[in-house]
């Protein structure tokens, strides 16, 4: 594969299928010729620049469809298990579900010292869902995107370079940050629920520097506020970016191997895939455990 086409190949694999808003007067350069939009349009971006220019008013359709689809499959499987739940002897699939549930339950009991009906199911969803999303990394990189490309080109008249399709949602920072910021809001919510609004403001303003002297205390408030706000924001950012970084790097290696070796990628990708199974599970587990720890810190008294 030539260097240029390899670069294109990699770039294409790293782009998301983006549906978003393009403003009036925007100049599109899709099919080799420029075209000026006469009105504000919601459309699929046909290249990386357009996706960037859409700004915040855009959706990564592939990420959302795959994450949502995997989540629905997960919920359905668990629901099937839950329907058969019995205190008697568990059969086949229920056994499997119970193993997962007990594993999560142990983790939650070990780390979370408050009482909450939310934390355990939350941890279950995080672990299984993130695991499933990561698992998409093990599907050969071209398999589904090329199929999608073929369908779009054959039936919808798209050109091949427009058909971006990323099937690993966790290699999209929107997905991981979307989850981690949800966790942050849960942290804030639980803090306010257990300590009240005053308590929440207290955790931001009166730590880590404390003083018995009221004047010194007042002087320390801005410093504390700065430090604690950064600490609060650092939690979801690090949580989301850790998962994203690991999965993105893993996906990148697969894409590189595919770009270098073509059809022989399976030989090269196999050892990496075996190693990656570990990363996939570990990252899902770390995301779950850190969420539990953060939420536990939120409800614990200082």
């Amino acid at each position: 594969m030539a260097a240029n086409s390899a670069g294109e190949y990699i770039k294409h694999h790293l782009g998301n299928l983006t549906y978003g808003k393009l403003p009036e007067g925007y100049v599109r350069e899709c099919h080799g010729h420029a075209e000026t939009l006469t009105e504000t349009t919601w459309t699929f971006a046909c290249n990386g620049n357009e996706a960037k220019d859409m700004g915040f008013a855009a959706f990564h359709v592939d990420s959302l469809v795959w994450s949502g689809g995997l989540g629905i499959i997960m919920c359905l499987l668990f629901w099937l298990g839950a329907r058969k739940a019995t205190a008697g002897i568990p059969s086949g699939f229920l056994n499997f579900v119970e193993i997962i549930i007990e594993f999560i339950d142990t983790q939650v009991r070990d780390s979370f010292h408050g009482k909450s009906k939310l934390i355990a199911p939350l941890s279950l969803v995080i672990f299984c869902w993130v695991f499933l999303m990561n698992l998409m990394d093990l599907v050969p990189v071209d398999f589904i995107p090329k199929t999608f490309e073929w369908v779009m080109v054959s039936f919808f008249g798209w050109s091949a370079h427009e058909a971006y399709f990323k099937i690993v949602p966790t290699t999209d920072p929107n997905i991981t940050l979307g989850m981690s910021f949800s966790v942050m809001f849960l942290i804030i919510f639980l803090t306010i629920k257990t300590k009240g609004v005053g308590g929440f403001v207290g955790t931001l303003a009166l730590h880590p520097f404390e003083s018995g002297n009221p004047v010194v205390k007042a002087l320390l408030i801005p410093v504390n506020l700065l430090l604690e706000t950064i600490a609060l924001l650092a939690k979801p950012v690090s949580l989301g970016l850790r998962l994203f970084g690991n999965m993105y790097a893993g996906e990148f290696v697969f894409i590189l191997l595919a770009a270098m070796m073509g059809t022989w990628q399976f030989v090269g990708a196999w050892p990496w895939a075996v190693f990656h199974i570990l990363v996939i599970t570990l990252q899902a587990f770390i995301f779950m455990v850190l969420t539990i720890v953060y939420l536990s810190m939120a409800v614990e008294e200082h």
């Binding site: 790293l14 998301n16 983006t18 978003g20 996706a51 960037k52 859409m54 700004g55 915040f56 008013a57 855009a58 959706f59 990564h60 990420s63 959302l64 994450s67 949502g68 989540g71 997960m74 919920c75 668990f78 629901w79 298990g81 839950a82 329907r83 739940a85 019995t86 205190a87 008697g88 579900v97 119970e98 549930i101 007990e102 339950d105 009906k117 939310l118 355990a120 199911p121 939350l122 279950l124 969803v125 869902w129 949602p169 999209d172 920072p173 929107n174 997905i175 940050l177 979307g178 989850m179 910021f181 949800s182």
Partner: protein
């Protein structure tokens, strides 16, 4: 790698799935697990109890057997003693009866001897009287000498 509204979409998915699992997945399964745990605990304690009961029953059975044996031995012992006693009593009774019979026989013999002696005396007296009568031949008045003759008879 643009940050956009996908963030919000993902947050909504997340909330939906967590809500679903919180309502329909976690409670039934964890309840079933809890119930099973309790059931197993009950089963184990029941097994323990049964084992203890069995032990107790065995002990009781052994004790009963022992007691029964002791009782049987006692009864046999008692019966033996009783038999001996009966034999002793029978012997005693036989002895006393024998003695009594012997005594009775003795007394009968004595009586008969006495009777015979009385009769003999009477006969001797009569014989002496008739002899004397014959010797004296009317000289002697039976009425006048009766007292003397009876005295004589008593001395015999």
């Amino acid at each position: 790698m643009n940050i956009n509204a996908t963030l919000i979409g993902q947050a909504i998915w997340f909330a939906l799935f967590v809500f679903f699992c919180m309502k329909f997945v976690w409670p039934p399964i964890s309840r079933a697990l809890e119930e099973r745990k309790q059931k197993i605990a009950e089963g184990l304690s029941a097994a323990d109890r049964a084992e203890r009961d069995l032990e107790l029953a065995q002990e009781k059975a052994t004790a009963n057997l022992k007691e029964a044996k002791e009782k049987a031995a006692e009864i046999i012992d008692q019966a033996n003693r009783r038999a001996n006693q009966i034999v002793e009593e029978a012997k005693d009774a036989a002895r006393t009866e024998g003695e009594r019979l012997v005594a009775k026989a003795h007394s009968e013999i004595d009586q008969e001897v006495n009777q015979a002696r009385e009769q003999l005396r009477k006969e001797v007296a009569a014989l002496a009287l008739s002899g004397a009568e014959k010797v004296l031949a009317g000289e002697v008045n039976q009425d006048a000498h009766k007292q003397m003759l009876e005295q004589l008879a008593a001395e015999l």
